[in-house]
């Protein structure tokens, strides 16, 4: 059974490329959304196994979206991987770094690093 992944990023180019790559593995069913304000509603309908979430988005940042997901009784346990173009003081490792309780991947992320991170998070959530 394919795992469902929700992509939330205001850049359509990024969601499109990620979707193509993830779907090409044959292992994932992917939905993407470029408007963060609609992320929660989309997630309620799509019921993802994992969410890939951009940090800096106009209107609503990734942190707010993640908090809304965490508060939802159906979605609260869904793992979230943050994608960030902001380089924080603590450098983000290629295969993801934990900052607080969240996993961060730094853009530009290589597909193999992205897949490794997704597999790790899905493995944990199992």
């Amino acid at each position: 059974m394919k795992k469902r992944i929700l992509l939330v990023d205001d850049e359509a180019g990024i969601t499109r490329m990620m979707r193509r790559n993830l779907e090409a593995t044959g292992r994932f069913e992917v939905t993407d959304i470029n408007n963060p304000a609609l992320a929660l509603e989309t997630a309620r309908q799509f019921r993802p196994d994992l969410v890939l979430l951009d940090v800096m988005m106009p209107g609503m940042d990734g942190g707010t979206v993640a908090a809304a997901l965490a508060d939802d009784p159906q979605l609260g346990r869904v793992p979230v991987i943050f994608l960030t173009a902001i380089v924080s003081k603590k450098e983000v490792e290629p295969t993801g770094s934990m900052i607080g309780n969240h996993t961060f991947l730094a853009k530009p992320v290589k597909l193999e690093d992205l897949l490794a991170c997704i597999d790790e998070q899905l493995g944990k959530a199992r």
């Binding site: 850049e11 173009a85 597909l111």
Partner: protein
């Protein structure tokens, strides 16, 4: 016809007038003695008296004039002094203003770097993921696959450059980690690779084998090396050779005589890693040699140098218990920087 006395009187008057015309106030006593004698016609006597008075008044006026000139001269000197002080204040003010502008510029560059990094990383992410996708699709065709791999490399290189710019613009506390100095040199060279290539500067490495690790702040030290490499490149406008050598070294007093710092370490007798960065450029002019580490001192054109590179460099090295000596090479072929890192 005139009497001999009158002639004598007129003679006296002529001599006095000639003296007066030359600014000499001659002896008028003889003239006055003659007028007092009552031997002359009243008209001649009055003329001689009037001449005498005129002479006295001119002398008095001349004296007052001289006094005024003296007063004016001293007032002028005082004014010149005040003016000089004003000029100095103005210069200091301008310098302070320049420093403020430079600081503001640096802050702006930092903010700009962070902003640019964010804006560039998103398109890079699209390209990276696109390249990954095509790479998987085009695996069967070797040439296509290699092309895609070259593109992926280019994305990673661009990403490294952006990270480098961010490292450069950040001002953090020292983050010391056991580090191999050679790898920091390698990373820094990568960041100036474009300048090396476009400036036709060849790099010669004279690296010692297996140097011990040092507690270093990688990012801060990269900033130091980039500064020194860029200075070397700018000193070789027609190209040249940048030699980077490392060696284990026992510090001797002569190493520390002309170095940048008076701090305790390294001291003579310490074991250190010596890093030499030498160029084949124009060398350091005598008049510049004492000011190299002054903040905002630069010999580069406006827009090329901020004059902060070496002062920041020295500060960072001091934080690492390291020192730097800058000077001309003993073979007079260019300049060199000698850095000593205490072990």
């Amino acid at each position: 016809m005139t009497s001999p006395q009158v002639e004598k009187m007129l003679e006296q008057l002529i001599v006095a007038a000639e003296q007066l015309s030359k600014g000499r106030f001659g002896d008028l006593e003889q003239l006055f003695a003659m007028t007092d004698s009552g031997q002359f016609p009243p008209l001649i006597t009055r003329f001689a008296e009037a001449f005498g008075m005129m002479s006295v008044q001119i002398e008095a006026r001349e004296f007052r004039l001289e006094q005024m000139i003296t007063d004016l001269t001293s007032a002028r000197d005082e004014l010149a002094l005040v003016n000089q002080r004003l000029q100095q204040s103005l210069q200091e003010l301008q310098q302070a203003q320049m420093q403020l502008i430079q600081q503001a510029k640096l802050e702006t560059v930092g903010r700009l770097a962070a902003g640019v990094a964010h804006e560039v990383k998103n398109p890079l992410a699209v390209i990276q993921l696109g390249v990954d996708f095509l790479g998987n699709e085009l695996k069967e065709n070797q040439v296509w696959h290699e092309t895609v791999l070259d593109m992926a490399d280019a994305v990673q290189r661009a990403d490294r450059v952006i990270k480098g710019i961010l490292d450069f613009s950040r001002s953090e506390q020292l983050d010391l980690q056991e580090t191999d100095l050679q790898t920091v040199i390698d990373d820094s060279l990568l960041l100036v690779r474009h300048e090396l290539n476009s400036g036709h500067v060849a790099v010669v490495r004279e690296a010692a084998d297996a140097l011990p690790l040092l507690p270093l702040d990688r990012n801060k030290l990269k900033q130091v090396f980039i500064n020194l490499f860029m200075n070397a490149i700018h000193a070789m406008p027609d190209g040249g050779t940048l030699t980077i050598g490392t060696a284990l070294h026992d510090v001797i007093p002569a190493d520390l005589t002309s170095c940048s710092s008076s701090q305790a370490r390294p001291a003579a007798g310490d074991r250190a890693i010596l890093l030499r960065i030498a160029d084949t450029g124009t060398g350091i002019a005598d008049e510049a040699s004492t000011k190299l580490f002054d903040p905002f001192f630069t010999t580069k054109p406006v827009g090329v140098g901020t004059g902060l590179g070496l002062s920041v460099t020295r500060k960072i090295l001091e934080l690492h218990q390291a020192v730097i000596t800058l000077g001309n090479r003993s073979d007079r072929q260019g300049a060199e920087a000698i850095l000593l890192f205490t072990l």
